[in-house]
């Protein structure tokens, strides 16, 4: 019986010839990623060794990545103390894939990992962040976990137990209408699948739309697979993957490709044609509350957020800049721009996009998770509404509980709406 991409990766990583959905497996991890929540994994790692009465030891410091992004620079003493504890741990154990608050190496973990060539097709990537699904764009089996499991991975280099997830095949065909992007597609798909429609499943993407999609769009797509409940999203490696890894991530070694068997067994198949797809908006307070833009056009907004691990790449910033260049934000609207990494920031700066956005009235923030996670840098007041290119619109996500409202959209919709102060369809605005 044939295997899907993730089944193949898991059979290699578990040392078994075949794995089947529902079977409990133990498997090797190729890359283990954490951010500031490493401060929760460090004591659990110590606790395992204390209970076992063994000296504290790390599995393989070269395969552990720690990237500061959730609260950078530290907004309070507790975060500062945690970051200090992590720096000490990193130095003590010689963890090389450490990205501190730094204008050259810094950024959001889900951008830093791909940019630095840390992720290759066929890898098992585990991160203490739910949006670790992002790295499925490079053909890796990538998923989020908690800090206690991370502590066991730091100890053994293995996921000790997981049931092999079944795979849903999602085939995307057709050519996008001008301006419509991967973000509109993934919002539409989450609306179709619902917020838990893919729970404990892998989404494996196929189709002509995916084949033609840039790596930037693929990262957006896989980033949000978790919003349908999926363990992981994955796009089998192809020429686009290889080109990205060679030219952007500067990978020089062998790049494997893992593709599904022709007789792979999928739990179900979902086919979407994007040729008629309009811009999509996810409405408060769930990501699957998705509507075509016409249904919510005119909704007044106070804060526009462009960026994040979902839509903070060069392509996203350029799309917004093209709309906002030479114009001015509507009165009463503030716009925050969070490039996904300092490398993205630098490229967007060199191409004049950041200055164009600034001149339009946007505030250019430092790369990081910013207000998306509700900790700092753009918390909403009671009664306020944000339109954001990020990935979650839950109650309290940007602070203020159920009294603040978050709509999710693509960068072009965010930019067009910044000019009017209302959710606005981009057509007709671009010069």
């Amino acid at each position: 019986m044939g295997m899907t991409v993730v089944e193949k990766i898991l059979s290699r990583a578990s040392g078994q010839d075949v794995v089947t959905p529902g079977e409990q497996v133990r498997f090797a991890v190729d890359l283990a990623m954490s951010h500031e929540n490493a401060s929760g994994a460090i004591p659990q790692h110590a606790e395992i060794h204390r209970v076992a009465d063994c000296p504290v030891k790390l599995w393989d410091p070269s395969r552990i990545a720690i990237i500061f992004d959730h609260r950078v620079p530290a907004p309070n003493v507790d975060t500062a103390n945690n970051q200090k504890m992590i720096r000490n741990f990193v130095a003590q154990h010689g963890i090389s894939k450490f990205h501190d608050i730094d204008g050259v190496r810094g950024g959001i973990c889900h951008q830093v990992l791909p940019e630095n060539g840390y992720v290759l097709p066929g890898m098992v990537v585990v991160g203490t962040d739910s949006h670790t699904t992002t790295h499925g764009a490079l053909g890796a089996f990538a998923f989020g976990t908690g800090v206690t499991e991370m502590a066991t991975i730091w100890t053994f280099g293995k996921v000790l137990n997981m049931d092999v997830p079944a795979t849903i095949k999602v085939v995307i065909n057709g050519e996008f209408r001008p301006g419509v992007t991967a973000k509109d597609l993934i919002l539409h798909l989450i609306g179709l699948l619902t917020a838990d429609g893919a729970t404990n499943r892998v989404i494996e993407f196929h189709g002509s739309t995916i084949a033609a999609m840039s790596m930037s769009g693929r990262l957006t797509l896989c980033n949000m697979a978790v919003e349908a409940g999926a363990t992981s999203g994955i796009i089998p490696a192809d020429d686009t993957t290889e080109k990205y890894l060679r030219t952007v991530a500067c990978v020089s070694g062998m790049i494997p490709r893992v593709t599904p068997d022709v007789d792979a067994v999928y739990e179900r198949e979902v086919v979407v044609d994007v040729s008629g797809l309009d811009y999509q908006v996810a409405c408060p307070h769930t990501v699957d509350n998705v509507k075509p833009i016409s249904a919510v056009a005119g909704t007044a907004v106070n804060q526009i957020v462009l960026g994040s691990c979902t839509n903070g790449r060069q392509e996203d910033i350029a799309a917004a800049s093209a709309i906002l260049k030479g114009r001015r934000l509507a009165s009463g609207v503030r716009m925050l721009v969070f490039p996904a990494s300092w490398r993205v920031w630098s490229e967007a700066n060199q191409e004049g996009h950041l200055e164009a956005l600034r001149a339009a009235g946007a505030t250019i923030m430092n790369p990081g998770c910013g207000c998306c996670v509700g900790a700092h840098e753009g918390i909403l007041a009671e009664g306020e509404t944000a339109l954001s290119t990020t990935n979650r619109n839950f109650v309290g996500r940007m602070g203020s509980g159920a009294k603040a409202f978050i709509y999710l959209c693509a960068p072009r919709v965010a930019a067009a709406s910044a000019l009017t102060g209302r959710i606005t369809k981009p057509e007709g605005i671009q010069a």
Binding site: G22, Q24, V147, G374, G401
Partner: protein, 177 residues
């Protein structure tokens, strides 16, 4: 905690569908990663702090039950969502759980019960047996959906840390794990 042990306890809170980890443990408090301190911020939702107040005041007994709809714990991987609930000793009965939350809860030994058709109101008493949950007020009985094998394994092992420590000892002895 042994899943097969029958437990009778009061429902102290009923939630709807899609209760995210941003509600269970808001991002404001992510700076706190000490599992002894996270219970103070459990359900401390801005503008809706009543349940948090009840929890931290000690008015809710350990072993009390919260009942939720589908997809409980969706969103972030923050383990504080699970550790803060663990600190109050709450049992969670939900129509379904999001994966990472249920992973984390199982690793911390929280008692979670999947009951797709559960009907309960605050103040009801639920009796949780091996395969069914009975609402003592309505007299109705509801079937429990078994956990995935690795979740049940972790729950039976008393959580991931003791299990990992045993494996580490075995590994030090030269056993292949």
């Amino acid at each position: 905690m042994n899943e097969k042990h029958t437990l009778s306890a009061k429902v102290v809170k009923v939630f709807g569908n899609d209760i995210s980890t941003d509600i269970i443990y808001p991002g404001t408090y992510l700076y706190c990663t000490d599992s002894k301190k996270t219970p103070a911020f459990c359900f401390k939702v801005n503008n809706d702090e009543e349940f948090n107040r009840q929890l931290v005041s000690g008015a809710i007994l350990p072993g009390s039950i919260i009942v939720a709809g589908a997809n409980f714990g969706c969103g972030s991987s923050r383990e504080q969502a699970a550790s803060s609930i663990a600190g109050h000793g709450l049992v969670i009965v939900a129509k379904s759980f999001a994966r990472i939350f249920l992973d984390n809860a199982s690793r911390l030994g929280i008692r979670t019960v999947i009951v797709p058709r559960i009907e309960a109101a605050e103040g009801d008493t639920l009796s949780i047996a091996a395969t069914t949950v009975r609402n003592e007020q309505s007299g109705k009985t509801f079937s429990i959906t078994p956990h995935q094998s690795y979740h049940q394994f972790l729950i039976d092992a008393g959580g991931l840390v003791p299990y990992a420590a045993e494996l580490l000892k075995a590994s030090v002895r030269g056993e292949r794990i």
